[in-house]
């Protein structure tokens, strides 16, 4: 049996090595190409590959997030920006020797530093000796949730997650402030066309691509359903609020891509989406306050129900929901602002 496990470990190592080599090649290509559009497309492959590597390294939750964010939303946002700016890098680009030397020196120093690191996969590495054993051994009983990542994320490190959700909220707010149209910019008539231009020539719009339109009608409900599954199944398998929020937003992005931004904004009016940006965070904080009023500490879910593990379950459910709502709303909002920018 132990032979068998060692065997599998070796194979996974092999996959890991091959995928990492691919990753380096793609990164090189991303840096090399001058066409920004091609760089973004290659960045999509880069993210797919890195998510594969995360899976082989046992980080299924991380791979889940990377898959949803990197290959989907990130590509969409970069492309939307490209339509608003320029597609080509400036032609007269020169190789920067000073930059190269700085990078080589830093890299050399870092590699010298790795020589002292515990080897990959070592069981006795310092990182595995402290907090982690407690999470692994006790969290299934203490929190009652099989997915340790969820219990650490939502319960043990609830403050941390609150901070990160606030960062996402703030980022959403910043995009809103930067790209909101005031009267001045509305007067500018020379704004460039966007990814969402519902074309003046008609025949080329994706709205007229029948196959895509029918497919999207069939497909988007399934994506939304899947997002809900990810949201509420996060306690038992890979998933949770962050991933679900991104997938949920991806469904709206797909709808906007195929049916045009106006149609998408009819479904999800921007003002209402912005309410949800705040609502998710409020739900998170509200859960913390509720446990405060129930006699515990801030974000101490035990006190929320008669039984400690029930309380934990309830608390995790609510804050994951809060995270999901905020993430989805921020991404939808950001996409609307990017795609709607520059339309006359």
């Amino acid at each position: 049996m132990s032979d068998f496990i060692a065997d599998i470990a070796l194979q996974i190592n092999l996959v890991d090595i091959v995928l990492l080599a691919f990753l380096v090649v793609v990164a090189g290509a991303v840096i090399q190409v001058r066409d920004l559009f091609e760089a973004v497309v290659l960045l999509g492959i880069f993210s797919l590959l890195s998510a594969c590597i995360f899976t082989t390294l046992d980080a299924v939750d991380v791979a889940f997030t990377e898959a949803a964010v990197g290959a989907g939303i990130s590509t969409v946002l970069f492309l939307a920006t490209l339509t608003l700016t320029a597609r080509e890098e400036k032609a007269q680009y020169r190789h920067s020797w000073s930059g190269f030397i700085v990078c080589t020196l830093t890299g050399g120093a870092l590699i010298y530093g790795t020589l002292d690191m515990p080897h990959f996969g070592e069981l006795n590495a310092p990182i595995h000796r402290h907090v982690a054993p407690r999470y692994i051994v006790e969290s299934p009983e203490e929190i009652g949730v099989p997915n340790m990542v969820t219990s650490v994320l939502a319960s043990y490190r609830g403050y941390d997650t609150l901070g990160e959700t606030t960062v996402i909220f703030t980022a959403g707010l910043t995009v809103l402030l930067l790209l909101r149209r005031d009267r001045r910019s509305r007067d500018r008539s020379t704004s460039p066309p966007t990814i969402e231009t519902t074309d003046r020539r008609g025949s080329h719009t994706m709205r007229h691509a029948m196959v895509l339109r029918v497919m999207s009608k069939l497909f988007i409900p399934l994506i939304l359903l899947f997002a809900l599954y990810v949201q509420f199944h996060g306690d038992f398998g890979p998933g949770g609020g962050f991933q679900a929020g991104v997938i949920f937003a991806a469904a709206f992005v797909l709808y906007a891509l195929i049916h045009g931004i106006e149609a998408a904004q009819r479904v999800a009016p921007t003002a209402r989406v912005q309410v949800f940006v705040a609502l998710g965070l409020l739900l998170f904080i509200g859960t913390g306050l509720a446990s405060l009023f129930a006699g515990g500490n801030f974000l101490e879910y035990k006190v929320l129900a008669h039984q400690a593990s029930h309380g934990e379950h309830l608390g995790i459910l609510f804050i994951e929901l809060g995270v999901g709502i905020t993430v989805a709303a921020v991404i939808i909002n950001t996409f609307f602002f990017f795609a709607g920018r520059g339309r006359t």
């Binding site: 080329h204 691509a209 196959v211 895509l212 497919m215 069939l218 497909f219 399934l222």
Partner: protein, 104 residues
Amino acid sequence: MDTLIHLASWLCLLLGCCFCLIGGVGLLRLPDFYSRIHGGGVTDTLGAGLVISGLMLQGGLSLTTAKLAMILLFLLLTSPVATHAIARAAQHSGLKPQVTDAAA
């Protein structure tokens, strides 16, 4: 019975991989974009379908198999649509298929 299922799944996986490889080689070697689509098509439908069927036979009657069936369904829905959209976009952009001298 077990051995039979095992054998069938083995066959499916192997065939699926073969088709994937053939499609991959096609994607690389075929002369122009429109012919390369065919290479991509083989891997996306037949290759992926056979590999997933092989895995489904391994999974037996379980949630795993149900999920695999979902994946297969989604794949069969999305990849032809995506390929269609790519080809359509290429055609709209005015990309002409390469015609050999003999045909021309």
